[in-house]
């Protein structure tokens, strides 16, 4: 089982930039990308079918068709995305959208464009750790992409089986 991260972003250069900044995670993390919501749903289906877990979504708001915020709201009740962390990466969400994302989708973080690579990596590591803790996933196979200190604290509770 791999942890998966989904980048939902319609502009190709932005997707590429996000992927490049997260390249350090790629060995231990399934990084998927989608340019619109229908593609994102297909990707989620693929992740689920492969037995992997969608740990984190980095979504832009302004997309062709369904908006990023509406996608995240739907995702909040999707069983395939249980405990999935939701991050809005956008420069264009207005206040109403942002409020809806927080109240209705349970948005976890908001990243304003442009981001800095180090801060993004730290955010991803932090959010992946939150996912592992909330979803009850065994952190050990994924330790390389997690905040080791927090992840190990739940391993310690396991006891000497």
């Amino acid at each position: 089982m791999k942890l998966a991260l989904l980048i939902l972003e319609d502009e190709r250069p932005v997707r590429e930039a996000l992927k490049r900044d997260l390249a350090a995670f790629a060995r231990h993390l399934r990084i998927e990308e989608a340019e619109d919501v229908p593609t994102a749903l297909e990707v989620i289906e693929e992740i689920d079918a492969a037995g992997d877990r969608l740990a984190l979504v980095l979504a832009d708001h302004r997309l062709p068709g369904t908006s990023g915020v509406d996608f995240l709201i739907d995702l909040a009740v999707d069983d395939r995305a249980f405990a999935t962390r939701k991050v809005l990466v956008t420069g264009q969400a207005d206040q109403d959208d942002t409020i809806r994302a927080i109240n209705e989708a349970g948005l976890d973080r908001y990243v304003a464009k442009p981001w800095t690579a180090d801060a993004l990596r730290e955010l991803v590591r932090d959010q992946l750790t939150e996912f592992v803790l909330a979803a009850g996933v065994d952190p050990l196979p994924h330790l390389a992409v997690l905040d080791a200190e927090r992840a190990l604290s739940i391993v310690g509770e396991r006891g000497d089986l």
Partner: protein, 470 residues
């Protein structure tokens, strides 16, 4: 929060080939003794043999979770070997309650106390603060720091589970690791922690589950050992193996004069709740160590912190829920298995199988320790002890050696199986950090575990006898 949320899905795990084979062979092995007449084995013994074979295959293959096999053993004993057996047999069978009672065996109560103290230590950050304070004198030189690190890890592991100790120590050490040059020095440090945690676990009865399993079985046969009595038997071996491990790991991985900066801040919680916890934990450990003076059994002492911590509300219902129940159930399953083997007469039949007394005692002890180390390398230490302790205690009846020595030796040997990432949870944690290649874990595990095993089989029994400990 009014946000709608997704429901967690319970995904059943896909069984591996080994698990499927284990399931199938376990069921066959269970049926064979029931269907085939075995000469010189009474019907009760045949039923117990069926349960024992099933337990072996399930624990070795992990066809179902270890704790599930443990409760299955208890259920099968109740259904087949108790006064509530579905089909009766000639002779009287023990009451069903005696099998269920394994879940409240004094050893389980002892562990309950140990667990609560360990959980409290983590809750109040005592483990990390102690580690930080005790590491300070060793700062500067990497080889010396490693000795300090291993001693502290072992000391914590004597009272806290090996897994929790390893997790805590890695949390302390990961920043230190990052300061070391990538490569061998890091591997050495990352190997030292699980080794010290595994070896430290043998130091006290509450250090790791195999100790409890051996203690429970010995108590059932009227050969109980006090807390301090166990320590006298185990700590000398622990110290020597630790020193050897330090020598081996530093020579192999850490160049002399490697600098190592340790900047650890101790942050002792001084809130009233924490202070009450320190007092209760300290008093408990003191009472454990002084049993010869006051005579209160270690299990009774172990129940004191349970009562005191809950009554003072230093710990509460959530802390009870967080206790490692799977471990307690696994130990209980082992105790019930041992009880069933004794009650059914299977032990006597097992002794008769091989003329053990014809073999030289030294060879037998080497064999005993070798099998224990080997089995616990590939399966859970607790499961290995569950299988081997009752078996070897049965065999010890006919041998010219104290059964206590045999029980303790098996438990200690089970701690020495640490050559693979799957051998123990501490190894799995070290492997997960990415600093330890499997090949290096095999080398260090075989060398250190092998050294400990030889010492245990060849030196310890005579030492114990010479010191008058048995």
């Amino acid at each position: 929060m009014s946000t709608a949320t997704a429901r967690p899905r319970v995904n059943l795990p896909r069984l591996t080939l080994v698990q499927r084979l284990g399931l199938l062979l376990g069921l066959i092995a269970f049926l064979v003794p029931l269907l085939i007449e075995i000469p010189s084995l009474e019907p009760a013994g045949r039923r117990m043999l069926a349960i024992f074979l099933l337990a072996i295959l399930f624990w070795v293959s992990e066809a179902i979770p270890l704790y599930a096999t443990a409760v299955l053993v208890i259920l099968l004993e109740v259904l087949m070997l108790s006064d509530q057996a579905l089909v009766g047999v000639a002779g009287t069978l023990p009451p069903a309650a005696s099998y269920f009672a394994a879940l409240a065996n004094p050893v389980i109560i002892l562990f309950l106390g140990g667990f609560l103290i360990a959980d409290g230590a983590r809750k109040f950050g005592l483990d990390r603060s102690l580690a930080a304070v005790m590491l300070r004198p060793f700062a500067g030189n990497a080889r010396l720091s490693l000795l300090g690190l291993m001693m502290i890890t072992a000391l914590l592991s004597m009272f806290v589970s090996n897994t929790a100790t390893t997790a805590t120590m890695f949390a302390v050490v990961i920043p230190i690791l990052a300061a070391l040059p990538k490569g061998r020095a890091r591997t050495g440090v990352a190997l030292a922690i699980p080794v010290a945690a595994n070896v430290g676990g043998i130091g006290t009865p509450v250090g790791s589950p195999p100790n409890a399993i051996a203690l429970g079985a010995l108590e059932a046969s009227g050969q109980g050992i006090s807390f301090i009595g166990w320590m006298l038997l185990a700590v000398p071996l622990m110290v020597v193996v630790l020193l050897f491990a330090w020598w081996f790991l530093t020579r192999r991985y850490i160049a002399a004069e490697t600098p190592l900066a340790l900047e650890l801040s101790a942050d002792f919680d001084r809130s009233p709740a924490a202070v009450i916890f320190y007092l209760i934990a300290g008093a408990t450990i003191l009472l454990w160590l002084t049993e010869p003076f006051h005579g209160i059994a270690s299990s009774t002492v172990g129940f004191l912190p349970v009562v005191a911590l809950l009554a003072t509300q230093v710990m509460g219902a959530d802390d009870i829920k967080r206790l490692q129940w799977p471990v307690l159930w696994l130990v209980a399953g082992g105790i019930a298995l041992g009880a069933g083997i004794g009650a059914s007469g299977l032990d006597l039949w097992l002794i008769g199988l091989v003329a053990w007394e014809a073999l030289p005692l030294t060879l037998l002890l080497l064999l005993l320790v070798g099998v224990s180390v080997g089995l616990s390398t590939v399966i859970s230490h607790s499961a290995a002890a569950n299988l081997l302790v009752p078996l070897t205690l049965s065999l010890a009846i006919g041998l010219p050696i104290d059964p206590t020595a045999v029980g303790v030796m098996v438990a200690l040997a089970c701690a020495l199986g640490m050559a693979l990432p799957i051998s123990t949870p501490p190894n799995a944690i070290a492997y997960a950090t990415g600093e330890v290649p499997t090949s290096e874990m095999i080398v260090s595990g075989v060398v250190i575990g092998g050294f400990g095993a030889l010492l245990l089989a060849l030196v310890m029994p005579s030492l114990w006898t010479a010191l008058g400990l048995l």
